[in-house]
């Protein structure tokens, strides 16, 4: 299923980012340019009042504030994996490390098995989408040790469509959480025993928590993009709205 969705997926960002590209271009030098060039061709083809999906404001590049927190665990990780592990700034004093994808499986297994770390409890697993970053996705592991009572957050940055090694062999609790991240962001977890939809319907277009996915889905976004529509507006002519939505979906 994910294979069928992937070819369709890269198009919406191109179309939706197109009007905002001039603003974002000076800040994020390299990444938006290749996506921006095919974009003007896409809106030119349909007729002028083609509804555009309502997208959130153009994402700007931002950096986390605060300081990098060093704990015995992060020191140990740094000693073991060298520059594959990098500290991340935290505004509220949490230990966060960014691990290179090649070393991720090894690092997570190390965190679980090492006697000083002993992270037996994967508290939380989720993903995040940063369209402006070089690597657009992040998978986040919040590890906690029930025995030692300490915590660390491990993150890994991924490109769109780049598979992430599954944490299920290390922590079985990752099973459903990875399925959820797959639903919401389209991240593929390699080695997952049963990577299929969990929260969404079995047939669902797109990945709702990606930033280019409009609130309410493409259909509602198309209705709202109708020039007579205001937020919260319910069209009198439902048939026309359906037609606009259909067109919007086709463009999308």
């Amino acid at each position: 299923m994910s294979d069928e969705e992937k070819p369709g997926q890269p198009e919406p960002p191109a179309a939706s980012e197109a009007p905002k590209a001039p603003e974002a271009a000076p800040k994020a030098a390299s990444s938006p340019d290749p996506t921006a060039s095919p974009a003007p061709a896409a809106p030119a083809a349909p007729k002028p009042p083609a509804p555009k999906p309502a997208v959130p404001p153009a994402p700007k590049k931002w950096e986390p504030t605060g300081e990098v927190v060093v704990t015995p665990v992060t020191e140990k990780l740094a000693a073991r994996f060298g520059d594959a592990v990098q500290g991340v700034k935290s505004p509220c004093g949490e230990a966060i490390v960014l691990v290179k994808k090649e070393k991720l499986g090894e690092a997570l297994a190390f965190l679980k098995s090492d006697a000083d770390c002993a992270f037996d409890f994967l508290s939380n697993l989720t993903a995040a989408h940063y369209p402006v970053n070089d690597k657009k996705f992040e998978v986040v592991y919040d590890c906690y040790s029930v025995a030692k009572r300490h915590a660390v957050r491990v993150k890994v940055a991924l490109d769109d469509g780049e598979p992430c090694p599954s944490a299920v062999p290390i922590w079985p609790t990752a099973n459903w959480q990875e399925r959820e991240a797959h639903d919401m962001y389209g991240i593929v977890f390699e080695g997952h025993p049963n990577l299929k939809v969990i929260l969404l319907p079995e047939v669902w277009d797109g990945h709702p928590l990606r930033k280019e996915y409009p609130l309410g889905g493409p259909k509602e976004a198309a209705i709202r993009a109708d020039k007579f529509a205001k937020p919260g507006y319910m069209p009198d002519d439902l048939e026309a709205a359906e037609r606009i939505a259909e067109e919007g979906r086709r463009d999308h």
């Binding site: 959130p56 986390p64 605060g66 935290s90 966060i96 995040a128 919040d142 459903w176």
Partner: protein, 382 residues
């Protein structure tokens, strides 16, 4: 039927000679014992469960997406809709996350008021759970009694914050209002009465032979398995693992109070039941100490801007929800709207443990196991 008999039935030569096949049984989504729209596809070998597939998502409302389009303040009430029988705890988790991210110092009195409301909510949740769990197993009386006591708590909430079920109790930074006049006395009256009521429920259940037969030795999960599966809350503590966020990662002045963390021994349905009943008694202890030692002072921090704009960065904060560790992962990009919000909902993750509990057991015990997990589908699907 004892465990030995069950095992014997599974391996009898007669059964093998008959070449039985498995049967698929659809359980839910419209079934009273699933506590919401939860569907399980069971593989049955006679009466024995050999496989289960959980199908969820019927109640998925996309709350995490919705929040990205709202300011931090406006996003607060939606989290009550996750676990709608433990709404105050959800609210505490969210505002606590924003407070941690912004390093807001919540005044001591506000923290104590939060503890009082949190523990009342925990008791209310456990009372409703006790009633519905008993109802699932055929004991109807407990539900009516449990709802009677819960009603008192709902009235207390109504007097305190104006709402009974989805209270939107806390603003970011503290609490809105102090206890109204007479509230504390009403609360103390309730606290004086509840231990006797709990004794009554325990006489109905804890030594009831039918109850013991339906719960003892059913759905056993070991401590190591439970930790690996990420279970938390009373479900994990029923397996004898000491992990309570209030004790292990203290927040909101919980380190001031003297209370015990009840632990089970066998990790069966009975242990998960008895842990929750004991937890209600411990919540009463916390309530007593919080009301006795209630400090004076302001309810909101002095310097708090009207527009909540946390520094850019990420935060993970968890509270001990009624169901387990209730965590919030927030990413702020420095604006007044969250970049990302993820809820680590204990019901969702505890439900993963169901497979381990029911496989190998009888089909009638599936209901007992789902009940013992204390799931709310609003929180499972978000």
């Amino acid at each position: 039927m004892t465990t030995e008999l069950r095992e014997a039935a599974g391996t009898s030569p007669l059964r093998k000679a008959l070449e039985t096949t498995t049967m698929e049984l659809n359980f839910g989504p419209q079934h009273p014992a699933t506590h919401g729209v939860y569907r399980a596809v069971l593989q049955l070998d006679g009466e024995r469960v050999v496989g289960i597939e959980s199908i969820i998502g019927y109640l998925h409302r996309g709350i995490e997406k919705w929040v990205e389009y709202r300011t931090y303040t406006k996003a607060t009430p939606i989290f009550d809709r996750l676990d709608y029988v433990g709404a105050i705890l959800n609210c505490h988790g969210y505002v606590g996350t924003v407070e941690k991210l912004m390093k807001i110092e919540v005044p001591k009195r506000a923290q104590y008021i939060r503890v009082v409301l949190d523990e009342l909510q925990r008791i209310a949740n456990h009372l409703l759970w006790l009633g519905t769990h008993a109802l699932d197993l055929g004991a109807m009386t407990v539900l009516f009694y449990g709802l009677r006591e819960r009603e008192v708590i709902m009235d207390l909430f109504e007097a305190m914050v104006g709402q009974r079920l989805l209270q939107n109790a806390y603003p970011i930074g503290g609490v809105r209002l102090d206890f109204p006049r007479g509230w504390e006395r009403a609360c103390r009256n309730f606290m004086a009465e509840l231990p006797h009521r709990l004794d009554e429920y325990e006489t109905l259940l804890s030594s009831n032979r039918m109850w013991l037969q339906r719960t003892k030795g059913i759905g056993v999960i070991s401590g190591a398995e439970a930790v690996a599966l990420g279970l938390s809350g009373p479900t994990l503590r029923g397996s004898g693992v000491y992990f309570d966020v209030r004790k292990c990662i203290p927040y909101g002045s919980y380190e001031d109070f003297d209370f015990e963390v009840p632990l089970g021994e066998n990790g069966d349905v009975y242990d998960r039941y008895i842990v929750r009943v004991r937890e209600m008694r411990q919540s009463l202890r916390i309530l007593q100490q919080a009301l006795d030692g209630m400090p004076e002072g302001p309810l909101m921090p002095e310097k708090l801007s009207k527009i909540i704009r946390p520094p850019a960065g990420e935060v993970y904060f968890s509270v001990e929800g009624a169901k387990g560790q209730l965590g919030y992962y927030l990413v702020s990009d420095g604006t007044d709207k969250p970049w990302k919000c993820h809820v680590r909902s204990p019901s969702f993750i505890n439900l993963q443990g169901l497979e381990k509990m029911v496989v190998g057991g009888l089909v009638a015990d599936v209901v007992a196991n789902i009940g013992s997990l204390d799931i709310v589908l609003g929180e499972v699907d978000r």
